[in-house]
């Protein structure tokens, strides 16, 4: 059991290490001299930003310093939590920018992923029950998964937001408010939160429904289901067991889908200009703010890795086969 986790931790650390290396490598293997091209592109006339930037760039990119030295500096500053200074939000450090974007991200991602996972599995299970149910849930599920995240976001914004004017379509809370603990503020936040949540929820829902439908059909064909039916067990019991066993591969499915869902959230935030990491990342890209880009990238990666690790542990706890398989002595 311990060795199983040890191996898992090792793989995740290795992945994190590679991700950070990619993050560090990208600006370096781009053509041309990074410092000059960045300075030129930023083009802010403001003297002190230019000097601060030049001094900062030279220190970080220090072309005289050998390659691996730069790499170590990068790791050193990373571990100290200093991800450099944001260019387009100048005095703010990258970490601050990200820190006040993260709560929105969590508020958007966690509920939409979990609720869509639960609802999707329920839908998928129903689909396997009757032929006509299968012929409605399946096509609906496929259209939903096939819908680009941003298009559904646009449709909801345009339909519910503008046409019926039920929901605001921009920002995380009303512009005239500053964040404080009051009912009015919370209700405004929820009001703004609903459309991005709904769009993410619907697109993910389709994926889980289809996944569950295919897995549960496989479980209903399994030997233990046939045995229960041969002993005259009611369909309710057979379906209950098949559903529980079909949930397990859906847990690993959840872990593998995280990367795609995060990307979806990023685009949805752009449509609703919802101030999550995705929105910041895009703004950073549009303003060539390389340090913010690298910062956002690291946060997304570590978030996904952490979630994956948690889900892996949950899987081992939930699935007796892996838990007992390793410790139990099988003949």
């Amino acid at each position: 059991m311990r060795r199983y986790f040890g191996r898992k931790v090792l793989i995740y650390l290795l992945t994190f290490f590679i991700a950070v290396t990619i993050d560090w490598l990208i600006p370096r293997f781009m053509p041309g001299d990074p410092v000059l091209s960045m300075l030129g592109r930023v083009g802010t006339a403001h003297p002190d930003t230019v000097n601060a930037m030049r001094e900062y760039f030279t220190r970080v990119f220090g072309l005289d310093v050998p390659f691996w030295q730069q790499y170590l500096n990068f790791w050193a500053s990373l571990l100290r939590g200093d991800l450099g200074v944001s260019v387009y939000r100048f005095p703010q450090s990258v970490v601050d920018v990200i820190m006040n974007a993260v709560p929105y991200d969590i508020a958007l991602l966690v509920p939409s992923i979990l609720l869509s996972w639960i609802a999707g599995n329920k839908f998928g299970a129903y689909a396997a029950r009757r032929k006509w149910l299968d012929n409605t849930v399946l096509p609906l599920g496929y259209t939903l998964t096939a819908t680009p995240y941003m298009w559904l976001a646009i449709l909801l914004a345009w339909g519910l937001g503008i046409k019926l004017d039920l929901f605001p379509i921009a920002g995380a809370y009303a512009f005239d408010m500053a964040p404080h603990w009051s009912w009015r503020f919370i209700s405004s936040v929820l009001h703004h939160w609903f459309l991005p949540f709904a769009s993410l929820f619907l697109v993910n829902l389709g994926g889980w429904a289809i996944g569950m439908r295919n897995v549960i059909i496989y479980e209903l064909e399994a030997d233990y289901s046939h045995y229960l039916e041969a002993l005259g067990a009611p369909q309710k019991l057979v379906r209950k067991y098949a559903y529980r066993n079909a949930l397990l591969p859906q847990i690993t499915g959840l872990a593998l889908q995280l990367g795609v869902i995060v990307a979806g959230a990023l685009v949805t935030e752009v449509v609703f200009s919802y101030p999550g990491i995705g929105f910041q990342l895009l703004a950073a890209i549009q303003n060539q703010d390389y340090f913010l880009i690298q910062g956002c990238f690291l946060f997304i990666i570590s978030g996904v890795l952490l979630a994956n690790f948690i889900i892996d542990i949950a899987y081992v706890i939930v699935d007796p086969r892996t838990r007992r398989g390793m410790t139990g002595e099988t003949a």
């Binding site: 045995y227 005259g232 067991y241």
Partner: protein, 320 residues
């Protein structure tokens, strides 16, 4: 009279039409009788077993009547059969090794299964524990997961589970074929013990290995291409079979003590007919050395001696 089957016809639906897998079977099983059901692959023995307990597509019920302890078995009706299944008629399936739900403790699963059938675990538990000792399984097997048991142990658990409500008829479908010689003997003898201890009233053991049936069965019924060929006590089937197919089948089985250089056994020429458009009359006609024009009609399954039924025109039965 434990089981009475009359002219049972069950076909197997396929894309290119109905395979007439079981074409009119009429036989009886007395109380306390262990009947061995043998025949080569594709002879319909599994179709017969499955149609008695769980007749689902692609199997299609064509006709015939089945009575168990005087009560008619509605085998064509899935729902109505539910109250017969597990209580009156039960099965130890061929896939017994993985018939237990892998993610559920065995005890919990048994309790839920019993509850779903309206029986309570409390009143069955003492008997269940006694039977676990009988088959050599420890008590704590109930809170283990199937993955922690060996193949043989899982099979014995399924045997105990299937016979927990003392069904009147138990079907054992090829449960010895996947086992080694030593465990095979233990499992076969366990079946006999289940009958001796009245866990089950009568039993059908389905297998292609006739020598196992000779050891444990009371009577043996041979099937060929969806039709019953012969049924008799195990001694008569082995020593003095009357149906040409049974004779050739028994004589083609190598035995310890028989070597190729001294006695060269002979197989049965030709191949079994495909059952999409089966040949008219007796289906063994093409391969039978004694075939003559009368064989174009289907020979009735008649009693030539007390307890000895044969379907062959060459064997003049009492009423032929």
């Amino acid at each position: 009279m434990s089981l009475h089957v009359e002219n049972l016809k069950v076909y197997y639906q396929t894309l290119s039409g109905d395979v007439r897998a079981l074409d009119g079977a009429t036989f009886d099983i007395a109380d306390g009788e262990i009947m061995g059901l043998a025949g080569e692959s594709g002879c319909g023995k599994t179709t017969l077993a499955h149609s008695l307990i769980r007749l689902t597509p692609p199997l299609k019920f064509i006709g015939g009547r089945v009575e168990l302890d005087g009560e008619e078995l509605p085998i064509a009706d899935m729902e109505k059969m539910d109250d017969f299944r597990f209580r009156k008629i039960s099965i130890v399936p061929q896939y017994a090794m993985n018939a237990l739900n892998p993610t559920r403790k065995i005890g919990k699963m048994t309790a839920e299964l019993l509850a779903s059938k309206g029986a309570k675990m409390k009143d069955v538990e003492p008997e269940l524990r006694r039977r676990l000792d009988l088959v050599g399984l420890t008590q704590d097997v109930l809170d283990m997961y199937p993955i922690e048991l060996s193949g043989g142990m899982k099979q014995r658990m399924v045997m105990v589970l299937s016979t927990l409500l003392d069904p009147s008829l138990l079907m054992a479908d090829e449960i010895t074929s996947a086992l080694d010689v030593s465990t095979q003997k233990a499992v076969a003898e366990m079946l006999v013990e289940f009958r001796d201890r009245q866990f089950v009233k009568s039993m059908i053991i389905i297998t292609h290995d006739i020598s196992i049936l000779y050891q444990v069965a009371d009577t043996i019924m041979i099937m060929y291409a969806g039709q019953l060929a012969e049924k008799a006590s195990k001694e008569t089937i082995i020593e003095s079979p009357r149906h040409p197919y049974t004779k050739m089948l028994i004589s083609s089985l190598p035995q310890v003590g028989v070597q190729v250089n001294d006695t060269r056994l002979k197989g049965i020429p030709g191949t079994p007919p495909q059952l999409l458009e089966p040949p008219k009359g007796c289906r063994f006609r093409a391969r039978c050395p004694l075939a003559f024009d009368k064989c174009l009609e289907v020979p009735p399954f008649v009693e030539v001696d007390p307890g000895h039924m044969v379907a062959c025109w060459k064997e003049p039965g009492k009423n032929a």
